[in-house]
Symmetry: C2
Subunit: 444 residues, 2 copies
Amino acid sequence: MITSADVIDLRVPTSDQLLGSDPFHKQPDYSSAVLHLETDAGLRGVSVVFTVGAGTDWVCHGIRDLCQLIIGSDLQDFAAAPIDLYRRLIDHHQLRWLHDGVFRMAAGAVLNAMWDLWAKSLDKPLWKLLVDLEPEFVADCIDWRNIRDALSRDEAVAMLRARRSDVARRESEMNPRGPKAYCTAGWLGLSDDQILATIRKLQTQGFDSFKLKVGQDSDRDVQRIRFMRDAIGPSCNLMVDANQYWGLGEAKRHIERYRPYGLKWIEEPIARDDVLGYVELAETFADADFGFACGEQAASPVIFKQLLKSGAIKYCQIDAVRVAGVNDVMAIILMAAKFGVPVCPHGGGIALCNMIQHYGMWDQIAVAGHSDTQLVEYIDFLQEAVEHPVMTRDGCYVTPTAAGWGLEFLPTFIDQHRFPDGEVWKTRDPTRKGVAFEAVVAPK
Amino acid sequence: MITSADVIDLRVPTSDQLLGSDPFHKQPDYSSAVLHLETDAGLRGVSVVFTVGAGTDWVCHGIRDLCQLIIGSDLQDFAAAPIDLYRRLIDHHQLRWLHDGVFRMAAGAVLNAMWDLWAKSLDKPLWKLLVDLEPEFVADCIDWRNIRDALSRDEAVAMLRARRSDVARRESEMNPRGPKAYCTAGWLGLSDDQILATIRKLQTQGFDSFKLKVGQDSDRDVQRIRFMRDAIGPSCNLMVDANQYWGLGEAKRHIERYRPYGLKWIEEPIARDDVLGYVELAETFADADFGFACGEQAASPVIFKQLLKSGAIKYCQIDAVRVAGVNDVMAIILMAAKFGVPVCPHGGGIALCNMIQHYGMWDQIAVAGHSDTQLVEYIDFLQEAVEHPVMTRDGCYVTPTAAGWGLEFLPTFIDQHRFPDGEVWKTRDPTRKGVAFEAVVAPK
């Protein structure tokens, strides 16, 4: 039984180093709304919602409210039918008015913490719990209402069923060498020298796939793409990420100049919800080497459905904490598999990589069932925050073995970074924290 | 100068009467996050974010956070360039991670209260302030980044400029007879007799356009449509609203049966963000009498852009408090005008009608510049909450004359309905309020 819920506003002043910067998120303070659910059996379920500083308290407020619905509830009831809790949250007849964004993220936090508890109660990593589920059970976790025109329940079951005989072999192939990883080396705030040093360090660790942030200055971006391509050579994967900085026409003009550099993907060229814009871009650049990638900020499975069904994106970037938890992500990964689009999860933040590695495992063992086309984002910072840091070897994730998500934060890290009373924040300049922290240069 | 902000969680137990019920929102308690901004000149700026009970506190939390950015700021600075505050909020480099939903609604509350103050400082109703703005000024209020592929700034200015010579004539035509109104008579929870009584009452008030909630039971819905059509005769407008209850395939099956009844529009047949689904529906029913309508839950101008540019919707249902205030709504109304789609605002809730009448006025005087095709939703309940109730005469809104939005709540109403400590809530069954209030029948 769930006996209590503790919600922690955890913020790290990463803006001091401009780590994670992009054209919109100029000075992010990587943060998390952390949920701890305790049970009478002595288990702790953990989940996070990643944020970039201000606003973490909004998400915490939401999670606290939702947790009232699960205190006193039974883990066994959840495990019998996770869709029931999904519906109680997402289809709550009053709360659903709040839509996606904070509401869906908060609901995802509650669901993900329950999945964590369930996996821990079986002493399995989350990916293993998912891999072991029967196809029908997976299908029953999903809200089909708005997506079945792209993928029906029966199709999903048939897809999973068809892979079943191969799952044991794939599982052993992916242990201990997990999903192939890639890194962002070209953060917006970094100099060429810093980028080069990052690439060289990553190469010694076996990485061959790198990403660069672009967006603001077309000439400078092309220079940086050329610089990155020269630095990594022709055979490595190079991707660029515009973080939605462009309008549609602008995107076309910028991207036209990217054709010669053998890019693998262009990530988030336009607004996260501009489905028809993505369709138009895909048509415009149908003959280019690169495909389009997005999803880290797609607000719901319905947006993914459209991007996948229309063929607009060639890489499906699930996020672990933007949509409503395992249940929504299962639906998205299954739709991607149907349309033959590789799932390349969005990582980084605080502990997102710790979560997405499980989705990569499930996808590559039990859904797509191969590892040829997928790249899972990997960012190495802030791993000092957790008990079970993400590990990579030879450019691949090392298969996680801790029970659940493996998201346990170190108590000292929490104490120091709790907002606003942790050591790191207590003495900080008030204009550099919370909503008062406005970036100096606002985007036009 | 803005000296203080008070945010009030106001909830009305409308679930007792099932007023406002639909297939998803089974027992709504019409609510508002009410924002009061005070100035040193003694003005009070008011805005609301409509909600349906639980979750109002989420929005209040967000508005309180954002208001820290405007305390001490100058109304004149806002009035000089409203886009600056829009960007400070919507493009806040950390908060923007929170997306649409609660974040955009909260930002809209702040913007709308500032617009209210500005109009009050000029002693004009909001519609009059908007009508009097120069075309270039209107264009400068808008964030063009993600919509200029549908409508450019220059096109918008030219459209407004072209209407300029006719504005005085239109303004006098629309005073005191404002935009034509329509009503929902067929709430889901009501019996045929209750519906008939509602229609007859509305007809004596001059209404000739009525809406019916549908969604769950196809046979029953067709019966009710037929009942409504019989009750109002062939020449009145009849619309149906499914509140996103169907998936795409389901929607087609249901709607196919609606062809014979001369419906004007089918509202929200599918999910609010399923743009390609709307495109497919529009193609499927291209030869039907009815067109599709949506927008009351469209999360951003980008969603509207796609629905309008693709021709998927024939009626554009702006909401006054779902997107980021006057600035976003201006953009949407202008896009609708370019694509020849009538703007039929979503009303109801607490005081939404008080706000949308101003948009109807602006659209019909200065943008579309006519009143032939637009219907503005009107719902007559909860007008006892405000100092300046919305008035209708002969089926039209009576042009509002109070300064600003005219959104002043009566202090006694606020005292009684403040959540959770107002008289109405203090003694209420705990299972019937807040997140604990779960509807008995969950949708499947």
